[in-house]
Symmetry: C2
Subunit: 303 residues, 2 copies
């Protein structure tokens, strides 16, 4: 079960009624945050996200609306009782930006590790058993989209285990992929009690960008594609290109092509006061589109 929440859905400037876009993903009590603009720490509180659970912070790029909240967030996490490490992941420049911004938050009660993605090419890393893939996007500074994959254990068949005489306390070991030895000396292998693989849970997050080749493959079959909808009106196409952003319809086309189960649009222009007014523009292309709002939340089971 992967909980996903967008505590904020705005772009460029934090507004009185809309926090800047960020994404909280929590799996087995460990959380990943994508981006932290000014005010994100308040948005997280409003959405009930527990800062002490945060283990990984992914930064898409270093425009202020995606990073300016870092020093305040780090300090407030320190007040949340966290002592375990926090890992920051971001494009080239991570060390320089973090060093600069934390001039006003120099002493923290937990270690901060930096994982700088030095090259602008796709890759993958694993944090807390969750796979994090990244894809270079097309903005006017280095910028990555992220794909979070939770690989689920195969289905455990308790009937098969019972027929083999496996004591219940050993089920967990078998389910985790380890053989067990019974009291009578027999060895039971995991494949004797498992009923095949389950599809992983995939969430793909892409802001800020123009449509890029590779994004469709990157987001292929995602349970949830979160993608930017800076502008709702198709007539804003030229401005979107000029500013390095996407229309609702751009994201909807990608969601359709990649076979995502659902699409959340986010990162709305401050001028887009009623993003809902353009829902149909996207839904005509990809029906399961949701124009997101601050605090939108879903629990993905992958089934």
């Amino acid at each position: 079960m992967l909980d996903v929440c967008l505590p904020g859905t705005g772009g460029m400037i934090p507004l009185e009624n809309r926090w800047l876009t960020c994404c909280w993903l929590e799996y087995q009590g460990k959380a990943i945050l994508i981006d932290c603009g000014e005010g994100t720490q308040i948005a997280l509180k409003e959405s009930g996200c527990k800062l002490s659970h945060l283990n990984t912070l992914l930064i898409t790029h270093y425009h202020a609306d995606h990073i300016a909240g870092l020093p305040g967030l780090l300090l407030t996490i320190g007040n949340s009782g966290k002592t375990s490490p926090l890992t920051l992941v971001g494009p080239k420049g991570l060390e320089q930006v973090v060093t600069a911004l934390t001039v006003i938050s120099p002493a923290l009660p937990y270690p901060v590790y930096l994982c700088e993605i030095k090259e602008e090419k796709a890759g993958e890393l694993t944090m807390d058993g969750v796979s994090i893939a990244y894809l270079p996007l097309n903005h006017w500074v280095p910028c990555f989209g992220y794909r979070i994959t939770v690989n689920r254990k195969p289905i455990f068949n308790p009937q098969k285990a019972a027929r083999l005489g496996v004591p219940v306390p050993l089920y967990k070991t078998l389910h985790a992929g380890q053989p067990v030895q019974l009291e009578d000396g027999r060895i039971v292998q995991p494949d004797m009690v498992l009923d095949g693989e389950r599809a992983p849970i995939r969430v793909c997050y892409c802001t800020d960008t123009q449509p890029v080749e590779g994004m469709t493959d990157f987001a292929r079959g995602a349970d949830l594609l979160i993608s930017e909808g800076m502008y709702g009106d198709n007539e804003m196409e030229e401005k979107a290109k000029e500013k390095g952003h996407m229309l609702f319809s751009d994201s909807a086309r990608i969601a359709k092509e990649c076979g995502a189960k659902r699409l959340w649009l986010t990162h709305f222009s401050p001028a887009l006061t009623k993003p809902d007014a353009f829902s149909e523009t996207a839904q005509r292309i990809f029906a399961p589109t949701v124009v997101a709002h601050d605090g939108i939340r879903i629990t993905l089971s992958g089934d």
Copy 2:
């Protein structure tokens, strides 16, 4: 007429229902802002403060709750249409801190001037015809209190001017302290039409600090003393000393001793969810104490 507003009244951490402490002072369409923690740009909007009017930003010290909003504020000011210079004033370290934080807001459409107060001693400077005095406070980093003084023109007596035959369009020149020559050749000096001096308007702003010698003189006769009330309960005295802060009663005593006309308490601890509950603690010492709230506003005429 000096407009004064506290768009935020919190300390340490921005909360869902309380912005971080900052102060907006506007005189003749030119504004001074004191401090800019995370979210201050939103607080300013909520309080109706026009960012394009901002000419001077005074920073008390470089703890995150007083400065973390700087890069976002600078960018949003850039979007407000401002092209005239913005001057930043702050204790030693200003250049280092501003250079570091603006790594994410490198290009601005207006010049930013830095005025670093290198020595920890009192002084005074003048910006846009307003006097800005500063006093070293007692926090655990270099920190200044600020006193804003608006020197008002003497009272103009239109009856005297009329008796001398001064045409109305020349009143303004005389009121500004310049002599005028009439058509018949006579010179009229300002003191011939002015009715004496008027007391200046003074606002004194002091956070974060323990009570310091000199603060009473610094705030002498202020129309408004804005002073920190990190803790309401007198039983927090030890904690206040340890953390370098003041109680409501500390600020009330200073307001009484300095003969201020009124006191606004601000910079409340996040744990102080209902600062109003401790109003009487201060008002017993200094009756015209107001426990401030976000958006509190006053227009000071000095009369």
